[in-house]
């Protein structure tokens, strides 16, 4: 297993290089333009000047290699210099700079990470914690009232988009009842009970909206997989051996049912770092999702390239983790 993991990690490097190049190719081919947001009063020659100052005059492969060098060499070196306080070279290192904000992309990402982890990450945890018990009970008591209501809520929760549920919650809790703020304050520092309470209040709505969506999806896979396993021969054998139903379900069936759920969760974790574009927009959480979408709208190639690449690295990593977990959940799965 360890050898397999190491091999996969090594293989991830060329994979990510290829992915990063393809991403760059797509961003380059896309017909959006960094000067599109400027008012029409800015004449074309000035726009051309701006494009040149952003380095767009150079051929595509040069720009790609520049980005790669800045990202893979200069950024880690910069971080190292910051940590140690020692400067390895006299000339300042050129970091990956966003075109829109002219500030280092990595700093922007670090700035956005807390609210994204709090809101999107927490909603994912909440979603999983709701979904797994619901999935299990729905399967064990298939077609009971609990199952029917669970099915209804999760299907409606999944099919109604978050822009609608989010707006509905704002109308209810912010406008009519006035209980919760409709705008997330990223300046808020939790220092005491009052500010903690304020943080909780501003997180409730976005977390619930996203958690409902995530829980709906995961609980469906959980239920389906449990149902599949409940009718297997080994369950009958276990029951025949006189094991208690609870042990049968929670130990044997659950473990064997987790493979699809692990897959879904592993696919979802990188999404946390991708942010939740719509929910972040509605509640103005301004996390990584909002960073990405403003970057895309402004054709901010260095920003979008870096974010997408980090996202790709997480996808590769978590898919590897999922594969390793398969092996633990079902020892019969072998990779060698």
């Amino acid at each position: 297993m360890l050898a397999y993991a190491v091999r996969r990690l090594l293989f991830a490097i060329p994979t990510l290089l290829v992915i990063s190049f393809i991403i760059f190719l797509i961003l380059d081919l896309a017909p959006s333009d960094p000067t599109a947001n400027l008012p029409l009063t800015i004449p074309q020659d000035v726009r051309q000047q701006i494009r040149l100052s952003l380095g767009l005059g150079e051929p595509m492969h040069v720009r790609y290699l520049k980005w790669l060098y800045q990202f893979a060499v200069n950024e880690p070196m910069h971080a190292l210099e910051q940590l140690t306080g020692h400067h390895f070279s006299a000339t300042p290192r050129v970091r990956v700079l966003s075109w829109q904000t002219r500030s280092p992309v990595v700093d922007l990402i670090l700035q956005r990470l807390p609210q994204t982890l709090w809101v999107v990450g927490l909603s994912y945890v909440v979603g999983i914690l709701i979904a797994i018990p619901i999935g299990i009970v729905s399967a064990v008591r298939q077609y009971s009232w609990f199952d029917q209501i669970g099915t209804f809520v999760s299907m409606v929760g999944y099919s109604v988009p978050t822009f609608f549920t989010g707006l509905l919650m704002i109308m209810l809790f912010s406008v009519h009842l006035g209980w919760l703020p409709s705008i997330y304050d990223t300046n808020l520092r939790v220092t005491d009970v009052a500010s903690f309470w304020a943080q909780v209040k501003q997180m409730i709505m976005p977390v619930m909206v996203l958690a409902l969506f995530n829980a709906a999806q995961i609980s469906r896979y959980m239920r389906a997989s449990m149902l599949e396993n409940l009718t297997q021969d080994y369950v009958r054998t276990a029951r025949a051996k006189g094991m208690r139903e609870w042990v049968v379900v929670m130990v044997h069936v659950l473990r064997n049912s987790l493979i699809p759920v692990v897959t879904v969760i592993a696919l979802g974790v990188p999404q946390i770092f991708g942010g939740a574009i719509i929910t972040e927009q509605i509640f103005r959480v301004n996390g990584l999702g909002q960073l990405l979408i403003t970057g895309i709208q402004g054709a901010d190639i260095p920003l979008v390239q870096t974010l997408t690449f980090l996202f790709a690295a997480l996808i590769v990593l978590f898919n590897l983790i999922a594969d390793l977990l398969y092996g633990m959940l079902d020892p019969r799965i072998r990779y060698d």
Binding site: L27, L29, F164, T308, V316, D330
Partner: protein, 310 residues
């Protein structure tokens, strides 16, 4: 129905080898006696009939603007009210249903086909696994919005010239949604297949020299059906919503083509002013997804060899 959790006596995985005719009769019998499945089928059929026959019952042009009847509440002339330009919401729901259902079902089918194909191949054949899963990683990582812009740039005019504006856009949308949403199904199916192919019945089938194709179709596929059915249900909801998201990028149908997702999005800000603008499209999407879900449940139960024959 409710004692479904009880294992059916005397069923062995090999029972799927019963003659073809009997199998489908069995499946149909089982399906017909599944209350949820029948209800789902009826509702789904009703929705399909409504969007097909709707214009006969309610002959109003969904794009006709009547500025005097803006934001009207439900009435006899406008059973679901009107929007802020005075367009009839009911007619919009009917017309939009055609596009949404067509896009939802076709795009879901495409994604499901691609996902299952990649998942089964990657899970079953170890040589293909690494390559196919890296391709999956790549597709998961692609920046969707810029990719869509590229696709539009490269293919819109060609498709428009070949199939006309409407069919061209339809094909483009189905292609875009299908090609960008098969990865989850692929990963899930692969995970299940990895475990399944080491199970006793597969090993047994292989040891008696059953060809791979037959093992996959007869032993593997029926056993990964439940996650596929879940993916199908979620896939329809996804496709309907994604279609509306596309039109906000100028990539979908032109704005005068109503679709359920679009009606819901356009109506969202009018929620307090004319609630019927959001309730009906929301209900239409939810009902469709729910009914497909129940059909999927019934189909899965009916196809499950261990649940059949009771």
């Amino acid at each position: 129905m409710t004692e479904r959790a009880e294992p059916a006596p005397g069923t062995v995985p090999g029972e799927i080898e019963t003659p073809e005719r009997g199998l489908w009769n069995d499946v149909w019998y089982q399906f017909r006696h599944h209350r949820g499945a029948m209800l789902g089928t009826i509702v789904f059929t009703l929705i399909v009939l409504a969007v097909i026959l709707g214009p006969v019952l309610h002959p109003v042009d969904p794009t006709h603007i009547d500025v005097k009847a803006r934001n009207a509440l439900p009435s006899l002339a406008h059973p679901m009210g009107t929007d802020n330009l005075g367009r009839d919401t009911f007619a919009g729901i009917i017309e939009g249903g055609r596009i949404s259902l067509a896009v939802g079902v076709t795009a879901m089918a495409l994604a499901l086909f691609l996902g299952t194909l990649v998942g089964v191949l990657a899970g079953y054949y170890r040589r293909l696994d690494g390559m196919l899963m890296r391709v999956t990683d790549l597709f998961l990582a692609l920046p969707i919005l810029p990719l869509l812009l590229v696709v539009i740039l490269l293919f819109r005019d060609a498709l428009r010239a070949a199939f006309g504006p409407e069919t061209g856009i339809f094909l483009l949308i189905v292609f875009i949604i299908g090609v960008t949403s098969w990865m989850q199904t692929a990963r899930i199916v692969r995970g299940d297949v990895l475990a399944l192919k080491e199970r006793e019945f597969v090993l047994a089938a292989r040891s008696v020299g059953t060809p791979d194709r037959r093992i996959i179709l007869r032993h593997i596929l029926p056993n990964v059906l439940s996650p596929i059915m879940v993916s199908a249900t979620l896939g329809i909801a996804n496709a309907i919503i994604t279609e509306s998201a596309l039109s906000f990028l100028g990539l979908g149908f032109p704005s005068d083509f109503p679709t359920w997702g679009r009606l819901l999005f356009d109506g969202a800000n009018f929620m307090a002013l004319s609630p019927s603008r959001v309730i009906w499209p929301g209900l239409a999407i939810s009902l469709t997804v729910l009914s497909v879900n129940f059909i999927g449940d019934g189909l899965r139960d009916a196809l499950d060899p261990r649940a059949r024959g009771r």
